[in-house]
């Protein structure tokens, strides 16, 4: 028995299975969260009809997609058409092997080139989009996939440069080391290099094809972009891959900039009550659910909410055991931070219009990349000059960021006040 669990293959398989299952569930309910948050921001209620407060909506959606007809257009390149959603999905999911979910054994694998592996694998997902759009043999998907190819490639550059400045600070490519380094320094990287964080976040939104950069699937222009011709199960694969990518980008943002699994102020011992946050959160969730149940007039709904509240209470009890509490710490804080970043993604979607394609390129190449580069150079210089000191790094980065932003946005090229249209 001992041997079995020690064997790396078996242990890894179990971990992979757990992560895969958990991720699928998270992604399904991410869609629910998105719909709810969007709805509340738009003075609506969102899904309310399937289950109490629409809680079973993701299941209904998944079932619907599975049962729908899987149409392959007559003149499509069949093999590529069938394969490309799978490429997207596999790329999106396999990346999670290298994400550290907590200290110690809470990773599937911890390669010393972790960040490279992740960037490389996630870039493979673009093939799924390009091939899918091309294989559909149709106008709108083709335009959508061309757009997304150009977009992903250009924003990968900005995101990559932003990541490099983090690597300089951590002096390692391993994600575990990057987080540990933040613990040693006593501050998260976002406070050392906020400019890189902002650049990474913007580029991350663009890489996940989210509003305001959702051009590849701009439904009002391209009716659906690269997945216009997809339906049923294959569409759901794309859908899943897209939301998985969202989770990935926000997990990476958290690991690189927001201290990964670290508790806020993890270097301050006297803030130990924060360690009990998981328990408090679960109890709070239970109380909220109970309150919802008391509001409801439908008997089935009340039962459902009561059961949910009991479940929360039981979980809170389990988590309250000191051993469990200490081991679950990392995952809890990581989840909370990832959810916060995901919330920001949804928030952007509720607020902003969509960029046009040429503007998207302008933002990527003429704004983000110079800002990221300046932050990289300044970080490197400061690291050599003053060493790992928080205040000089932060001050220099902010200064450089603002200066570059001023140069590229106020004085930069491509910034005519009212461009006249070009003649044909």
């Amino acid at each position: 028995m001992q041997f079995l669990f020690r064997h790396p293959l078996i242990l890894s398989s179990i971990k992979i299975l757990v992560v895969f299952m958990a991720l699928s569930g998270v992604v399904a309910y991410l869609v629910y969260m998105e719909r709810k948050v969007l709805a509340f921001m738009q003075a609506r209620l969102g899904p309310m009809r399937v289950g109490p407060w629409g809680l079973l909506q993701p299941i209904a959606d998944g079932l619907k997609l599975l049962l729908k007809e899987d149409i392959v257009p007559a003149r499509a390149d069949k093999a590529v058409f069938l394969l490309s959603p799978v490429i997207s999905l596999v790329a999106a999911f396999s990346v999670f092997a290298a994400i550290p979910y907590g200290p110690g054994g809470w990773t599937i694998t911890n390669p010393n080139i972790g960040i490279l592996l992740i960037l490389g694998l996630s870039s493979l997902g673009i093939y799924g989009i390009i091939l899918g759009g091309w294989a559909s043999n149709s106008h709108y998907p083709l335009i959508g996939s061309l757009r997304s190819a150009a977009q992903l490639v250009s924003y990968e550059v900005a995101a990559g440069i932003a990541v490099v400045s983090v690597l300089l600070i951590a002096n390692s490519l391993s994600l575990v080391v990057i987080v540990n380094r933040q613990q040693q320094m006593g501050v998260w990287n976002v406070f050392l290099n906020p400019v890189a964080f902002v650049v990474y976040l913007i580029a991350g939104v663009a890489e996940t094809n989210r509003n305001p950069f959702d051009l590849p699937e701009a439904e009002s222009e391209l009716t659906g972009g690269f997945h216009t011709e997809y339906s049923g199960f294959r569409f759901s694969l794309y859908f899943l891959a897209e939301y998985t990518n969202m989770v990935l980008i926000s997990s990476l943002a958290v690991v690189l900039f927001l201290g990964g699994w670290l508790r806020p102020f993890s270097s301050l011992r006297w803030l130990w009550p924060l360690d009990y946050a998981p328990v408090v959160a679960l109890v709070g969730a239970g109380a909220f659910v109970l309150w919802l149940g008391l509001q409801s007039r439908v008997r089935g709904e009340r039962m459902f909410f009561a059961a949910l509240a009991i479940l929360c209470a039981a979980l809170a009890g389990v988590v309250g055991i000191p051993l469990v509490l200490s081991s679950i710490q990392g995952v809890f804080w990581l989840t909370v931070k990832v959810l916060a970043v995901l919330y920001a993604f949804i928030w952007y979607r509720a607020t902003f219009p969509r960029y046009r394609f040429d503007q998207l390129m302008t933002v990527g190449w003429r704004r983000l990349i110079p800002v990221a580069l300046s932050s990289l150079i300044v970080t490197a210089t400061m690291l050599i000059w003053t060493g790992y000191r928080v205040v000089p790094l932060l001050a220099a980065n902010l200064l450089a960021g603002i200066l570059t932003a001023w140069m590229v946005s106020v004085r930069g090229a491509g910034n005519r006040s009212r461009p006249t249209r070009e003649a044909i």
Binding site: V37, F40, M41, Q42, A43, R44, L45, M48, V298, W347, Y348, A350, T351, F352, I402, A405, W406, S409, V410
Partner: protein, 150 residues
């Protein structure tokens, strides 16, 4: 200066973000959960037609003057009558083709005795055209209202 702030610190975007964030308060929700909450319908609402009876005697108010049929742009009202012994018109049949009705209210306006009325009943959608030609009985008694329960 303001313009520079806007361009560097993205204040224009933050302004929008603040607005959408503030809308998450529960009282800002405008949704009406229709089958659960019935919307209040205006008094003058032009919905399903009804042929009124005299509340006391139960006799029809309609004097079979045929004005509604003449007023209707779609010619969907057919009034049938017969002459009684004292040469008065007496209503026999009244058909109203609801499938062609656009609820303009001209028939209601034309009626000199408030017999024909468009009521507040708005749930008159059907899955098929069958049964959308309402006869006198249907018009007097009104359709069986659908009640949605959960």
């Amino acid at each position: 200066m303001n313009d520079m702030l806007r361009k560097i610190f993205l204040t224009d975007l933050l302004k929008g973000l603040r607005l959408t964030f503030s809308y998450q308060r529960p009282e800002a929700t405008y949704t009406e959960q229709y089958p659960l909450e019935r919307p209040p319908v205006a008094e003058r609402y032009r919905g399903a037609p009804r042929l009124n009876n005299h509340p006391a005697t139960g006799e029809t108010l309609c004097i079979a003057c045929n004005l509604c049929a003449l007023a209707c742009p779609e010619n969907l009202i057919v009034v049938g009558w017969e002459r009684t012994a004292d040469r008065k018109k007496k209503l026999t049949t009244f058909t109203y083709d609801l499938s062609r009705c656009m609820f303009c209210g001209l028939c209601e306006d034309a009626c000199p005795v408030d017999a024909l009325e468009l009521t507040q009943d708005f749930e008159i959608a059907r899955y098929s055209r069958d049964g959308l030609i309402w006869d006198r009985q249907m018009l007097e008694e009104g359709p069986e209202p659908t009640r949605y329960t959960r």
